[in-house]
Amino acid sequence: MNRVVITGLGAVSALGHDLRAHLEALRAGRSAIGPITIIPTEGLITKIGAEVRGFDGNAYFENGKLALLDRCAQFALIATREAVAGSKVSFRQGLGSRTAVVIGAGVGGQTTLDENYYRVYAERAKRLHPFTIPKLMISAAASHITMEHGITGPSFTVASACASANHAIGIAFHMVRSGSVDVAITGGTEATITFGTMKGWDALRVMAPDTCRPFCRDRKGMVLGEGAAVAVIETLDRAKARGAQILAEIVGFGMSSDAGDIVLPSADGAAAAMRGCLADARLAPEDVDYINAHGTGTAANDVTETKAIHAVMGGHAKRLAVSSTKSMHGHALGAAGALELAATVIALREGFIPPTANFTEADPQCDLDYVPNEARLQGIEVAMSNSFAFGGQNAVLAIRRFT
């Protein structure tokens, strides 16, 4: 089996438009949650989000191409460009056919869907733009990545709501590890801050009106984010042979299903995915220094996830650090695991643990070390990143510092 390393990484989120901006925001513990500006919020209960601010697709794409790209595909392409540039991988000379593109997305081209439904149902438009379907399809981002980079190997999109990106990255990791491909471009993308979607979230009654405070006594729910993060991963042998930068090693991936509730999480399901990840990585609980938590800030998730960490880690649970970077970049659904992988790789590389921002006072039922408010300068060797989706689809990654 191949060892698998990350040789390129790119990110776009509320924290900024590139990886450098993410590093700076995570180190400063700066939350990017604020008033929603990209849609009118009159008539919405939830008026805050973690938007990609100051974003103009025209700066990245020429007109003809932009017309084909939903906001979520734009984010994915921009993050991919950064990851490919950083890895200095070239897909010429046959590598394109030995490369996979596996992208997670929870919803897909929601902006396109919303706008066009409005046109036909509200404005009674007689016709829609012919690009409507190719723009809204959930797999469009992955397809555009193959086209832009000349990748002719396997490409597909993975959907498992909030765990989509972790499932995508985990499957891509296994594909490279097994040798079915040499390289993979993998991550997640999402852009669902639309009026229709926000009305749906309002109706579910789980959104915070103030901010996202994971694991706190006074937490009031989740805050929606958006963005994309993409990694170039490849075999260690290949990366070494071509002298590529190696950002971190992916060492394990575990999955499980709760078979329980369509919205409520299960500690057993979460624990099963974490245990599966440790087994896949051949790691003991004591090896783990840091967990980038799912940490949505809902009443149900944070207590359940804390229980699951106790169940898996035993006495080591109190010694490791746990933080939720959703407190800074919001919950980007299908991109969440990818943004959190980026945060985790930054933490491993830069020797600090990103904090749980907006932290007030711990919930008595949440009794772990959540790294409140300030990044902690601490070298870490092994980290896990949790994603636990609505509908009980759980996916956990393990990452090791590469030296």
């Binding site: 009654r205 009031k220 809902t298 149900a300």
Partner: protein
């Protein structure tokens, strides 16, 4: 709001409100309407979190009100969802506030 819509929403008659709330809760809990009284607790009707969100949705739709309920912070709603009677009283208050708003 047109006259016939106001008609449909009811005029805030307490007995009618109680009847409508009982209908909605019994329907969502999938129990006989006659088994639900003011003192019945939602817990004993086995109303789970998503059921409660659906009940609130139905109440808002029926009475044209907004129930400021957040599942992460149930205390902030101003309406208790412990017993059926609490729900009836809380909804009646929101309907009264609705009518004040509409006549203002």
């Amino acid at each position: 709001m047109s006259l016939d819509q106001t008609e449909k929403l009811g005029k805030g008659d307490p007995a009618a409100i109680e009847g409508d709330v009982l209908d909605i809760i019994a329907h969502q809990a999938k129990v006989e309407r006659a088994t639900v009284t003011r003192s019945t607790s939602l817990a004993e009707l086995n109303v789970q979190s998503l059921d409660l969100v659906e009940i609130i949705f139905a109440l808002e739709d029926k009475f044209d009100i907004e129930v400021p309920y957040n599942a992460n912070d149930p205390g902030s709603a101003g309406v208790s969802f412990q017993n059926v009677g609490d729900v009836i009283d809380g909804i009646a208050k929101l309907i009264a506030a609705r009518d004040v708003r509409k006549t203002a």
